[in-house]
Amino acid sequence: MFEGLSDRLQSIFDRLGKRGFLTEKDVDEALREVRMALLEADVNFKVVKDFLVRVRERAIGAEVHKSLSPGQAVIKIVHEELLSTLGEGGHLDLGGAPPHVIMLVGLQGSGKTSTAAKLALRLRGAGRRPLLVAADTYRPAAIAQLEQLGKQLSIPVYSEGDKVSPPDICAHALAKAVSGAHDVVILDTAGRLQIDDAMMREVEEVKRRTKPQEVLLVADSMTGQEAVNIADAFNKRMQLTGLILTKIDGDARGGAAISMRAVTGVPIKFLAAGEKPDAFEQFHPDRLASRILGMGDVLTLIEKAQAQFDEVEAAKTAEKMLSARFDLEDFLGQMRQLRKMGPLGDLLGMIPGMKDALKGVAPEATERQFKRLEAMICSMTRQERHHPDLLNASRKRRVAAGSGTTVQELNQMLKQFRDAQEMMKKLSNNPRMRMMGGLMRGKR
């Protein structure tokens, strides 16, 4: 339904041709697209309006840098404005005397309990001794949920069942934290609607009695226009210190983050991005900005690649590529490197423009091919890997049987490999590629 904003803008500006600076007409036409993009990303209507006024002011008459097309110039301004609206990712304030109290609040189903566990795990990783507090006495089995999560992660959970009032539980937990030498206390409160006065008074009471250093609003990244009202109401009554955006591993663009940030001014501190307890990230405004605009997540990709790519291995391959001694073992090594970065579908999806190209491709198809390829190469002898030409009909039958594939598939794979080898040869004759190889080697 919605392609990348950059593509859509590009088509507008292709028609307009190149000019030295942005005219009012260019900008307005572009901003109509930006508006649609932001609205489809669930940024609040009013927030979009204010935002576009700011962008318009900056964009009209702005000089277009030589290297940019007018479309890119507008995108750049929009991106920068988005970044400044999103602000820097905040850190937890755990200064002063322990125990530090972190209070999680939010609507039903926003992910508070899972987030509490993830936050505790992260803090323990940073050398803290967290105590989780089960203060949701309303939702059936909410306490059991936190207790089970605590057990899984070996993080202590304080609970008093569902018969004690949450403010009392939290106050008692604080005393327990002191005696148990826990330096961080994480309060998992019940989900509540911001308009539910009685329930809001209850969390105010918890806050009054536990004096938390951090009051974090846990919000679903899929939230729509209501995000402003939720964030505003919680902020007015609880004086939030930060936001946590959950379920960001889906395909929601997360425009709610802008809405909430714009209306409260408090920083977004973390993103919860998955079912696993360690799927919890620091917030990076640039990434979210790109995501909201539908421009891919290049930075995440680069970072992932940097973290996972074994540089020594890479340099070796680069060298081999250049010397055209690229054999099946290198081929396998390359594939493994790629796989380490995560499912291929995810990876390619982060590249701008690729998401659309990949629409029809089932992610498991590429994964399965990877696995088969690996099995085939691993079923070969070392000699065969270095000299694939050795593979005669008899050897092929053996390899196919050993890897649970067929000779046809093996032949197909070998053809792919030869194509790759051929490409490497061509590239190695290309002086530009040589330079890149040099860069890769020199990078260490």
Partner: protein, 365 residues
């Protein structure tokens, strides 16, 4: 919802006689623990103590129209009443259209659907020579209702008891309100005379099984559960056997929350569906997608993803009590042809209603 008073709307939803044995997952006026701030309202996890509390505002039998209107009161006042004010004005101007668009957008109707809707309205104003804003309002209502009525959409399951076992599969993203909706659905169908059995198919999330079991106990409905982290397909299979053995006529299956983008989890869902198809004739008779009404445009992606994986026959729109939105419904129905079957309007087991397009749209105005 006014929460200051000692009696909350939700408590009044039941008759005093009924309240005695009825579990109240919502607030009770005298909870088991005294509220520390001295406020009289409190939500208690145990059985309601409100049996004697007077319920002046509500009668035992609630006309669905009235309660839906009440549910949507916030929507009405905050957004659509502004449509009304706006459209009450005399002549249609450019501003009328701009503001109309703004109002639709703010109700989460979405840019694409809003544009379509407005285009359609413009056509009609030309074709039918609508000049006054009043007439435009009637036209808008009609268009909104039209959006909510996809041709050939499946109807919700009948309340009447059947001789064949029917299966309802409940799916949705994390935190949408599946388990709570199941509790409400099972209550609704039990009250109307069906023999309901629940299957705890969420074997992944911590304490999800306990959550369903607690609801089951409260509603007096059997729950078939397996071990945590066991194969949900196996749990469903056992539940089917149990349903046949106990001569249940409605099996409702809870599933783990999953984002529609998670390939493996969607495969798991397909497996559950396959187990149903193989073992019960015509199953799943209904596959209901639970959607949080506070969700924005991503709800459309959710519906698309789930529909592609296992097929969706209808949707349950939850948490409609707090949000003045619900516009997501228009997008889901009109773009994907998935009808809304029920709406969740609160935390209590009775807070579930059949969805009706006319009532819904009327309630908005």
């Amino acid at each position: 919802m006014s929460a200051n008073g000692a009696v909350r709307r939700s408590e009044c939803a039941m008759s005093p006689e009924k309240a005695v044995f009825l579990f109240s997952p919502g607030r009770s006026t005298e909870g088991a623990h005294a509220p520390s701030d001295g406020a009289a309202t409190k939500r208690g996890p145990n059985f309601s103590q409100t049996a004697d509390a007077p319920c002046p505002a509500r009668s035992a039998i609630i006309p669905s129209m009235a309660s839906l209107r009440e549910t949507l009161a916030r929507t009405r006042t905050s957004i659509f009443s502004r449509v009304q004010t706006l459209l009450g004005q005399a002549d249609i101007t450019n501003d009328t259209w701009d503001e109309l668009e703004a109002l639709l957008l703010q109700a989460d109707v979405g840019a694409a659907t809003s544009t379509k809707l407005l285009e359609r309205l413009r056509e009609r104003t030309r074709a039918e020579a609508i000049l006054k804003a009043d007439a435009l309002r009637t036209a808008l209502k009609e268009e909104l209702v039209r959006l909510l009525e996809p041709a050939g959409a499946a109807a919700p399951l009948d309340y009447r008891a059947t001789r064949m076992l029917e299966v309802m599969l409940i799916i949705g993203v994390n935190g949408a309100g599946k388990t709570t909706s199941i509790a409400k659905l099972s209550r609704l169908y039990t009250d109307k005379g069906r023999k309901v059995l629940l299957a705890a198919g969420d074997t992944f999330r911590a304490a999800a099984i306990d959550q369903l079991q607690i609801w089951g106990e409260r509603a007096g409905i059997d729950v078939i559960a397996g071990k945590m982290n066991s194969d949900p397909g196996a749990v469903v299979f056992n539940a089917i056997q149990a349903a046949f053995a106990r001569k249940s006529d409605l099996l409702i299956i809870d599933t783990a929350g999953r984002l529609h983008t998670k390939h493996n989890l969607m495969k798991e869902l397909e497996k559950i569906r396959n187990v149903l198809q193989r073992n019960v004739h015509g199953a799943p008779h209904q596959t209901l997608l639970v959607v949080d009404a506070a969700n924005g445009q991503n709800a459309i992606a959710q519906a698309k993803g789930f529909a592609a994986a296992v097929g969706v026959t209808g949707a349950v729109l939850t948490k409609l009590d707090g949000t003045p939105k619900g516009g997501v419904a228009f997008a889901i129905v009109s773009e994907l042809g998935i009808p809304i079957h029920y709406i969740g309007t609160g935390e209590k087991i009775d807070d579930l209603e059949r969805f009706d397009a006319h009532t819904f749209v009327d309630g908005l105005f």
